[in-house]
Symmetry: C2
Subunit: 451 residues, 2 copies
Amino acid sequence: MYSPATKTMNIHYQTHPVIHPEPSIMPGSLPSDIQDKDKSPIYSASVKDAITLIRSIAPETLVETRFIDDADGYTLAAPVICREDMPGYDRSWKDGFAVNSRDVKGAKPENPAILTYTGEIRSGYSEKKQIKNGECAAIITGGPLPEGADAVVMHEYAILKGHSVEITCPVILGENVIRKDEDAKAGEVIYQEGWVLRPQDIGVLAGFGICTVQVRAMPVIGILSTGPELVPADGRPARGEIRETNSYLISALCRKLGAIPKRYGIAWEGSADLSHLLKTAVKECDAVIISGGSAHDERDRTAEVISGQGKLLLSGLSISPRKKMVIGEIGGKPIIGLPGHPASVYLLLLLVVTNLIQAMKGADAHGLLKEQVIAGVDIKSHPDREYHIPIRISGDRAYPLGRKAGMVSILSQCDGIIHIPQGSTGIKKGDVVEIMDLTCIRSPVSFPGIQ
Amino acid sequence: MYSPATKTMNIHYQTHPVIHPEPSIMPGSLPSDIQDKDKSPIYSASVKDAITLIRSIAPETLVETRFIDDADGYTLAAPVICREDMPGYDRSWKDGFAVNSRDVKGAKPENPAILTYTGEIRSGYSEKKQIKNGECAAIITGGPLPEGADAVVMHEYAILKGHSVEITCPVILGENVIRKDEDAKAGEVIYQEGWVLRPQDIGVLAGFGICTVQVRAMPVIGILSTGPELVPADGRPARGEIRETNSYLISALCRKLGAIPKRYGIAWEGSADLSHLLKTAVKECDAVIISGGSAHDERDRTAEVISGQGKLLLSGLSISPRKKMVIGEIGGKPIIGLPGHPASVYLLLLLVVTNLIQAMKGADAHGLLKEQVIAGVDIKSHPDREYHIPIRISGDRAYPLGRKAGMVSILSQCDGIIHIPQGSTGIKKGDVVEIMDLTCIRSPVSFPGIQ
């Protein structure tokens, strides 16, 4: 039986976040009362640090029992154990004749073994058939092997002539037979805890007679937006204002990742409104995401508000193009502050928030689907920095997205992300590069006129 | 504005299926009354033929209006039109100073342009600011450009000294500015009909103030299983019996593809029971899938029952490893008969049934996500035939699945499908091959001990 691996992603959960000696991105001066004596916030974290931190503070959701027909995409909260030998009886996996292998030893076309034909065996009939020495029985794929038989001769090597069968090829013991416990043995672990169920796994569980599974419940993710320039999506922005976009983006991605989004609307300028909304969200949700809340602007009070209600753990991410991010904790619930620009939000959702949701469901990092594409242009990078560059794909070519971050439409072109590690000077046009597409949401069609 | 392409998959919808001259796979003799005078069933079809046929008979589902927050994954039933110029006003996309480009012509560090500082402009404030010749205003990313300004100097090239600003670098007209209609113009098509919405598109729609969309409803897919050897998944199979697996597999995949599965259970041997269940399913669903119903066994009455109630259009697929399949139509609703073995069912679901569901939702073929992997072993093929080989992935290597089709557990190892076209003699170990992973359901972890 195929047995899914034990955990292979070596993400080490830390109880204390790494403290970086050089705070290269300082989010203004932080009030001294938020500086916990035991834990200082990280001021310049790599994406890996942020993932490690978010996984270390992610509370696992409750265990629930689900009928397998409604369990696709859920993460197992307990191993699944095989209850009985599978398939439970020796079966043929070819159409042909069930024989005793000793009876057909040395058979060849010019000197066939002649066996007595005793009738046929089908799947779906539980009659217990038996063959004796020198006998055989017709059998179809899936048919139960009769007693006395130990192999199946494919019908290509057998000719039925009245009451006897000419076998023109020998078989060895067990040939073309699935043993009674070859699929799985009673007591064997079929799926490990932490396995994310796929449609084919649902089929396997049904086949094994396991109709309910213990899984982790979907986490409820609260979503808030902050920013004085925001108007609701169905509003009409005046000069200087823009529509609130991020809560829709975050909500749709949460659903896709198997979480339940809960939107709390827009917190206006000032910390009182944000503080009130955050309190409600923390009470009602398992984790909260605040967009436009990554301390880019001194009017952004996210870090301050988190510190007021709980603890700030990380403020600032050392990646290029620069993205700001806040991670905190209130009453044991993770709070993530993301930037305001949708394209940056999307990147950090894919890189970091996916890990939060997976960890809350007890799953390892996964789904980081890689695809290979050809760089359509040179992409330069500075060896001192780590880059995560959103790209669009046209044909098999990848092109970095335009840098006009303020444009809403850029978001719809984001097909994947190229990671350039520290130490690299970039990618040359024509290089084969690996891109990350986490959610299978690549544009289904190619774009005209860009090739 | 980025505009999703017009249809690029050149699938030509045929009203009459292709008739193949040589019926190489004959499903026994068909009763003469099912032979339509105008249309004969196809007896040996390529996968492409089957897809063309299934798309030609797929009835589109009804149009419904959905709030964008609940529209991810749905297919647009009408183009989405931009209602107003976006962003609606000239905006800065850099932090810096809004200037008139003529005022900073020729500016350089040793000879800076000196401008009068008039204060700052933020996003989120609709006050209408104006600058005159020789003036500038501080502006942040997203801020509305003041009247009189036509470009933005990045703060790296400007020094604020009391009431004046030294500019050390020239800018051209429009530099670092997003024009009022650069995202999209009023009346422009933002998304074409047939576009499948992704989370990033939901964000874009919100940003454009479009909160409801016209989409195709999810199709309801009836699921039946046939076979005298089948017992329900929660039953205990006797010798010669197996549990019914396929309806769970089909159901989970339907949900993943955005369809509503409706299971009708197991039809026992004989055509009366199947005929009755099929009648009910056709009445209640938009399409019906019958597994264990691809005329492999002469006891399989699927083709006969379809002909009795409607029309048989295709019976037999010319691919290797051989898979049998039936396509028919009853009262304008497509009926698909699939084999009994779960691994074969899964392959045909991915290759053909996905196309049915996409077409019913008005979407082009898409989501055929390709990944490149290295062949872990030689895979031989006969140049006369087309192959679709299920594989598992270990590391970056692809290995064909074991051929013991009767084993239920094999299904959980199916990570992708390799297509070997006619004319090829196969794949060598070490070759880079393209695999299809339609549903992002690749095993999240690698398998130990197989490397």
